[in-house]
């Protein structure tokens, strides 16, 4: 499972390597540290990818289960732990999205509904929901690229490694995703004013 990524990084310092090795040997405190450090961010990305909180929590649980079973075999220097972790998480999300019986959200074109918005000002909650809706309307890979780069604050190289694509392909996904977001949310400018 611990695959070597393109462009092997034997010289990199992996801040989690020690905790992963310890957790693999049964050190509960090391496991707790890994959970505390990575679970919140994983959950944020999973929640945005999958939409439902419960399903996102299930996906993150699955990721950590996979981590425990592979921790003892972790080989530092082959891949950065965090990159591997996010890759497993993204695969979990893709699998779950594919297993869904209904058509994916991106199949339906989002139509901006100005009538639902108040005339003056825009409540933060409403704005958040609109943004979430626009994000959900993006194709899943564009959404993944945006989420990894925005919420994880990853560099393009690392995000591309997680998604298993080239940096150029990632940049293309990002550009298309951002353009899509803008076209879906442009109408909000009128209500949100300088906030957008």
């Amino acid at each position: 499972m611990f695959r070597t990524f393109k462009g092997r990084r034997s010289d990199m310092h992996d801040p989690d390597a020690d905790d992963v090795a310890r957790a693999g040997q049964g050190d509960r405190r090391a496991a707790a540290r890994l959970i505390g450090k990575h679970a919140p961010k994983l959950l944020t990305v999973a929640r945005r990818m999958l939409g439902a909180q419960a399903e996102a929590e299930d996906a993150v649980q699955e990721v950590f289960l996979r981590l425990w079973t592979h921790a003892a075999r972790w080989q530092p220097g082959k891949a950065k732990f965090e990159t591997w972790l996010y890759r497993v998480m993204m695969n979990q999300c893709y699998d779950r999205l594919r297993r869904r019986p209904t058509a994916p959200l991106e199949a339906a074109e989002d139509v901006a509904d100005d009538a639902a918005l108040p005339d003056t000002g825009l409540d933060e909650g409403v704005l958040g929901r609109e943004v979430a809706r626009a994000l959900d309307g993006l194709p899943e890979r564009q959404k993944a690229a945006i989420l990894l780069c925005h919420f994880r604050e990853l560099g393009n190289i690392e995000a591309a490694e997680i998604m298993g694509i080239s940096v150029e392909a990632l940049e293309s996904l990002l550009a298309r995703g951002r353009r899509g977001l803008r076209s879906r949310l442009e109408h909000l400018k009128r209500f949100a004013g300088d906030g957008l």
Binding site: A23, G26, R28, A31, A32, I35, G36, A39, P40, L43, T44, R47, R48, Q53, A56, E57, V60, Q61, F64, L65, W68, T69, E124, G125, L127, G128, V131, A132, A134, L135, I146, H150, F151, L174, A175, G177, R178, R179, L181, R182, L185, L188, G195, L196
Partner: protein, 120 residues
């Protein structure tokens, strides 16, 4: 390029408005519980592997015998060996009091007797 940059800036601004789901302590506790469950299974697995290895070893040294037979033979050998190891040096040192490993003076080939200086 300018379009790309303004798209990026726009996306960064709007994404700031997205509510971020909080990871509850309950959820993190559930993750830790899954670790505990895995760890317990793993410990069971290690114990089972140890038992299986021991059984294979006993089958090799004493086929068709129950596990206690080679185990007790091993323990008996260990006790006898340790006992002998502890007692033998004391027996040897008291049996022959005149015995010594020191060589007599005349056998020391490297002893200097003042002749070396004359040779030089």
């Amino acid at each position: 390029m300018t379009d790309k940059r303004s798209d990026r800036d726009f996306a960064e601004r709007v994404l700031e408005h997205l509510p971020r789901p909080a990871s509850s302590p309950t959820f993190e506790a559930a993750l830790l519980a899954s670790y505990d469950a895995w760890n317990a299974e793993r410990a069971k697995g290690l114990w089972a592997a140890w038992n299986a290895g021991l059984r294979r070893f006993s089958e090799t040294v004493w086929p068709d015998a129950p596990l206690w037979a080679p185990a007790s033979a091993l323990v008996a050998a260990l006790v006898i060996g340790t006992g002998l190891g502890a007692a033998l040096p004391a027996i040897i040192s008291t049996d022959e009091p005149g015995f010594s490993l020191e060589q007599p003076e005349s056998f020391n080939l490297f002893a200097s007797e003042g002749t070396q200086e004359e040779d030089l």
